[in-house]
Amino acid sequence: MIKTDVAPTLAGGPTLIPTDMPTTNRPMNMGQSMDDNTSRLDGVAKITGAAKYSSDMLLPNAVFARFVRCPFGAANLETVDDSAARKVPGVIDIEITPKACTYNGQPVGHVVAESPVAVNRALKALKLNWKKDSVKTSIRDTKQVGLLKGNAPDADVTIRAVYSTPVQTHSSLETHGGVVDHKGDKATVYASTQGTFSVRDGFGDALSLKGSDFEVVCEYVGGGFGSKLGGPGKELMLAAKLSQKLKRPAYVMCNRAEEHLDTGNRPSSVTSVWLSLKKDGSVVGGEVMTYGGVGVANGGGGCNVPSGRYTFANVNKSHEDVSFNAGGPRAFRAPGRPQGAFAEELMLDEAAAELGMDPLALKRKLAIDDVYREMLDQGAKLIGWGERKANGSQTSVMRTGFGVGIAGWGSASPGGNAEVVIHPDGSVESRTGTQDIGTGQRTTMGICTADAIGIPLSMVTVQIGRSSLPPGPGSGGSVTSPTTAPTMMNAATQARTKLFEVLARQGGDNAADFTVKDGVVLKRGEKFLSWKDACAKLPADGVMGSASTGDGGKGNSQGVQFVKVVVDCETGIIYPKHVIAIQSCGRVICRKTAESQIIGGVIQGLSYGMFENRILDRNVGAMVNPNLEWYKILGPCEMPHIEPVLWAHGQTGVKALGEPPTIPTAGALACAVFNAIGAPVRHLPLTPDKVLSALEGARS
């Protein structure tokens, strides 16, 4: 256990921060949110298995379907023999169109049957004759990326390097897809989506119904991380087609292999850079050339370096997306940022080593504002940066390293709508169609309503995740809470005002005479009625407040992360020990869900830094690890002690939280490994083979 006697300056915090503190008792964060103690409103449903996800909508008489997919990176489907497959008991239909495919996992048709067993057996019984073609499987198959030439004439130090990051797949535990139940003149769509309303609007004519004649439902979503944005996707489009044709509910969910191959990813990147600095650490010139590996897509491979979080003078940037035979990218939690931050943070640490500077001092100097500098100072104390040894100075087998990275994110609200109804029995209902992908939308909406009205949260029920509710934003770009929180608070305030107007009319008072505190209605500051008795005076259908917010409301959030690792120099294995994740996100609504988001971002960043890699066979272009066995994600035994620090200094408004905590982690981890072993590992993931070869390079 690491002890620290740092006295935090955060408002309301205690004077001693125990670093080995459990999740339920983070004294540093107490008092930093609107609600420190509430647990998820849907936590019981999730923990007991009662929560119904789209993949759990097992409707009577449903049919099951899956896509038939190309098993190679490039191949022509020449002939199809489905005679054996059609004889499989329970098979309803098979539709396959021979065509040329350009990536592993590309659909060429589908099988639909009475049960999942029959679908799988029919897929196995298909005789498909594929003629393989040559493939390209990486950026480097097309681009020769070498060290860039050039340097600033007045530079004291110039560094040159090439960095790369692999493809990371979203790996949400619930896969893509859903259920369509078409009843002729009406339909219900159970979608696993990050955008209830984009699914509704994205069907076009596919359901042969007006948007008002079908409902999209997604009360629970088993993760998305960006991959479930956009419209219905090919899975729900297939379900829509089959449900209409067969007049039965149609169930289409991807399996894990399909999920890796064809539901998007974080694109790979290669970054070549030269950077010139003066002795004092100021950057006087440079050039950054980045490439994004976008598979069969034509774009979407941006690599955010320089990030704009550090002051770089005269650094030119160019970028090119490179296509090859693989599934294309989709938005993935802070698109383009983690890959850029990896290159940027490690590049700065390499520059600091050349200059003989402490990398923290260099980053502190170059950070664009004082918020970052304050966060860096605070985090350095919490992680124990003073114990950091000079790069490569350790000779023991187990070597300790420290690294730091910074993050930023701006979220522009796309606008949204909300309603709050106060019923005569005193219950209060919050309504917004926006979905909860795990972030805590249901809980934060309840807290906002209760807080705005002045009643206990237990009186509020929250309805979300239905297209029949007031439209809200998609859960992407960290815009959900910044949009829905103020909207819901406005709606709640309006509903409360309407209640006051009813009370005022009945008693000959002014609505402005009333207020509510702790569930008691006060008139001119004196107790007037209990909440329940006051609501009993409402008409039978209660009163409703509704609010909408337009576009805009852009607000930046910032963060810094410190990583402490131990590297075993005999095996090359990295053991992250401790992560300090300081994060601003404006006004925090719910402490526990906010902390959960930060920890989750750090975990995904560490997992990206250490393990995750979509590996394609370079001869046939097939993914060799389309599972969770060889596509490894971080598990409980690899997890360090992660301390989320909610930074609420003078913050107002609700700002972005989903994306920023995953931006700096892999970069900070790479810097920590560099510090421990004295040689940079410039290519993610930081697997033992790369650590050992970097060590060998450092020795020679």
Binding site: P22, T23, T24, S39, R40, D42, G43, V44, K46, I47, T48, G49, A51, S55, D56, L58, V68, R69, P71, V88, S115, P116, V117, N120, R121, L123, K124, A125, L126, K127, L128, S172, L173, E174, Y220, V221, G222, G223, F225, N255, R256, A257, G438, Y575, K592, E595, S596, Q597, I599, G600, I603, L628, E629, I633, G635, P636, C637, M639, P640, H641
Partner: protein
């Protein structure tokens, strides 16, 4: 089945005939304390039988190959990935799913934030409940090591381990 179907998970090229697989196997087993009698296809997975035929969708499919643990159930009092078990193999066994765990005992897991999106959570809770019922294993294993078969993609494992510590009353979670 033999080698004819032992192909990749994509499996498009098999020549497997279904002729020998038309039959079903009638089995009996105990499910959450009740006797169940059901005829199953020999290739039917226990996870699918539970979800699609016995109306118990609490067990989730995360990976379908025994890595993520979202489908964890107990079979004769041992945790198992139900996606890896052909249903006919539980003939005569005692199977328990997430639906059998009393909700009143789960408060600590709720308070520590052991869940985010929730898709991994039922499997986590089944494993956790097994550890609680067999706490002697903590003499030789840390909670973290015992939970290593359950993957979470959203917020990881601190909330789970902390919840378990409170639930079991064992303070040694094995934090690294």
């Amino acid at each position: 089945m033999g080698f004819a179907t032992s192909q990749s998970s994509m499996n498009h090229q098999s020549t497997q005939s279904s002729a020998t697989l038309n039959g079903t196997i009638a089995i009996r087993f105990t499910l959450n304390g009740r006797e169940v009698e059901i005829a199953v296809d020999p290739t039917e997975r226990l996870l699918d039988t539970l979800r699609y035929r016995l109306n118990l969708p609490g067990s989730k499919e995360g990976c379908g190959e025994g890595e993520c643990g979202a489908c964890t159930v107990t079979i004769d009092d041992l945790p198992a990935n139900s996606c890896l078990v052909p249903t006919f193999q539980v003939r005569g066994c005692n199977v328990r799913t997430i639906e059998s765990i009393p909700t009143s005992s789960l408060q600590p897991m709720l308070e520590t934030g052991a869940t985010q999106c929730g898709a991994c959570t039922p499997g986590v809770v089944v494993t956790a409940n097994w550890i609680k019922e067999h706490s002697s294993v903590l003499a030789s294993h840390t909670l973290r090591a015992l939970m290593a078969g359950n993957l979470c993609r959203c917020t990881g494992y601190d909330g789970i381990i902390d919840g378990l510590e409170k639930w079991i009353g064992n303070p040694k979670g094995g934090r690294p």
